[in-house]
Symmetry: C2
Subunit: 200 residues, 2 copies
């Protein structure tokens, strides 16, 4: 029954990966340890040799979700160096992202859940949200750091809100329109910001 340390570590990683998906799909309270462990190909009994508690897993799974989301967005931006901002906005505000709830942005899927959690989970969210802003800021074409952080915050807010709204409605046309309206306004916003930056 015992497996090698190597295999045990792989199992642990699988549990974190699976949890990062299933928590995003069902929320922290919407799925139990039994289902999580079985989705990872293990039984519930193995859980507590790997994690201290469900909260512990929730924290690690959130980290994993952020890592993967930011890696994906950064990769898309690097592949289109002429328009990284437009690329990321298009990817984020896509119907694909709307449908893939288990694989998308953790702020959208778990932001409200995180707001209900203790300071440990929120500290992790805060750190990763700052990374989102650092990723966005250089693409805004603004000179001043203070202003560009504000703009990055507004851009991220619009993306997050548009996706939350898009997912909360049934009608696909309406859902899509939230994404498109968000993208349109972000193009206006970032163009204005870039112009302002260049004038200085």
């Amino acid at each position: 029954m015992r497996v090698s340390r190597d295999q045990a570590e792989k199992n642990r990683q699988t549990v974190i990966n699976v949890a990062s998906q299933l928590f995003r799909e069902h929320g922290f309270d919407g799925i139990g340890l039994k289902d999580l462990m079985e989705a990872a190909g293990l039984t519930q009994g193995a859980f507590y040799k790997q994690f201290a508690s469900k909260d512990d897993l929730a924290a690690q799974a959130s980290e994993r979700a952020f890592e993967s989301a930011i890696r994906e967005l950064s990769a898309a931006a690097e592949a289109n160096p002429k328009d990284p901002l437009g690329t990321v906005i298009a990817l984020y505000l896509s119907m694909g992202h709307r449908e893939e709830r288990g694989d998308g942005c953790p702020v959208v899927a778990l932001g409200a859940d995180a707001a209900r959690q203790g300071p440990v989970v929120k500290a992790s969210f805060e750190a990763w949200i700052r990374k989102y802003l650092e990723m966005l800021r250089p693409w805004l074409g603004e000179a001043d750091d203070e202003d560009s952080t504000d703009t990055a915050m507004a851009v991220l807010s619009t993306m997050v809100g548009a996706m939350v709204l898009s997912r909360a409605v049934n009608n696909k046309q309406l859902a899509k329109r939230f994404l498109q309206a968000g993208a349109k306004s972000l193009m206006r916003l970032s163009a204005g910001a870039a112009q302002k930056g260049q004038l200085r």
Copy 2:
């Protein structure tokens, strides 16, 4: 033990009101019927004479939350007829709204939860989100209906996203800055939209 029909109806309303707060605070899965009923001054046993299921209450409590949120925003706008949009933005993107999780916008508190629910809950969210848009649209100073709906969507997206982000972080300064950055960008956006509308 039995109470009058009048009192029974009042009790039902209390349960819905209490649930609309507690669901927003803890999420649909984060609080049980026992706690909900006790918060309303009743016992769990009385629940099923008033509601068909927990989902039924979740739907009615969401409706109640939306009603109350939109009423509050509309009232604030009416009290400041010279700048309804600015008033609503300032009220929505306030630290008070951030702290009062049980009393604030249902899209922020329960939007991600709604995305995980069935089409019945989502239909209710969709209907109320359309009302948000109808409320915002006349204040945008745009002539064209199509464009002004897009702008209303972008405005709502920024407000929702800024509040989700603000609540997901510990640091109050950062939380406040998300709200202020959102407001700043919305002022720019709506000014641009109004200008464009007047040019036609």
